[in-house]
Subunit: 117 residues, 2 copies
Amino acid sequence: MSTRLDIQGMGCATATGGELLSVPRAGVLATRFKALADPNRLRILSIVSGSSAAETCVCDLSAPLGLGQPTVSHHLKILVEAGLLNREKRGVWAYYSLVPGALEALAATILPADATP
Amino acid sequence: MSTRLDIQGMGCATATGGELLSVPRAGVLATRFKALADPNRLRILSIVSGSSAAETCVCDLSAPLGLGQPTVSHHLKILVEAGLLNREKRGVWAYYSLVPGALEALAATILPADATP
DNA sequence: GACAGACATCGACGGGTGTCGATGCATCGA
DNA sequence: TCGATGCATCGACACCCGTCGATGTCTGTC
């Protein structure tokens, strides 16, 4: 067989033209990718992962993004609910950091089965 | 440094808290991920990549997805414009196939820089 | 205890998106 | 040439999403 999208953990359905990706799993994956389907959220991930301490507070994001504080908080909530960001509240500040392995797992989802060595 | 999102081809900005992902590139990537942010489109990719000949016509997709023909055509157009699917018209039928390397390139986009060996 | 600051939540608005039925446009066969 | 078929496009509808100002909640400080 040629390159085949072996969506992670979907089991194997009929091999010839059958639906390979179950409906529930498609919904879960779509929610994850929807979290990435916004320019500002991608920039948030970039800033968080690029910060020296690998964690960032909301006040550090509002200015470089050019967005209001409620909007930034909204995007952060979506990223946390998607399992991509961790939220840790220390005192008055809330620090966000990447969930280790989350982006890698999502990336592996769209890789063809025979592309992983 | 820790895991760092070295978004492909963005160059390196200020290394400490600066914005690592440029605004135009964030828009391009968001458009790509938006194409994946729908359950039916994910299932379309799964069916296309899983078909025996690695190419599928619209009539083969409408039934398993439970969608009307115009809706399937609409989703296919989005996937083609995102550069994920190829469209080849032979006679009356239109065959769709995965663009080689497109999904891999998109996956590499969200991988931390030091996760690629 | 009262105040100030950081963040989350709420309600509202404009714009985008998924879906459908109807229609148009090619191509193939009789 | 004419009808049939597969696909794309159009218009319309309901719904979701990103953004904002206003407000609420909690923590630390005086």
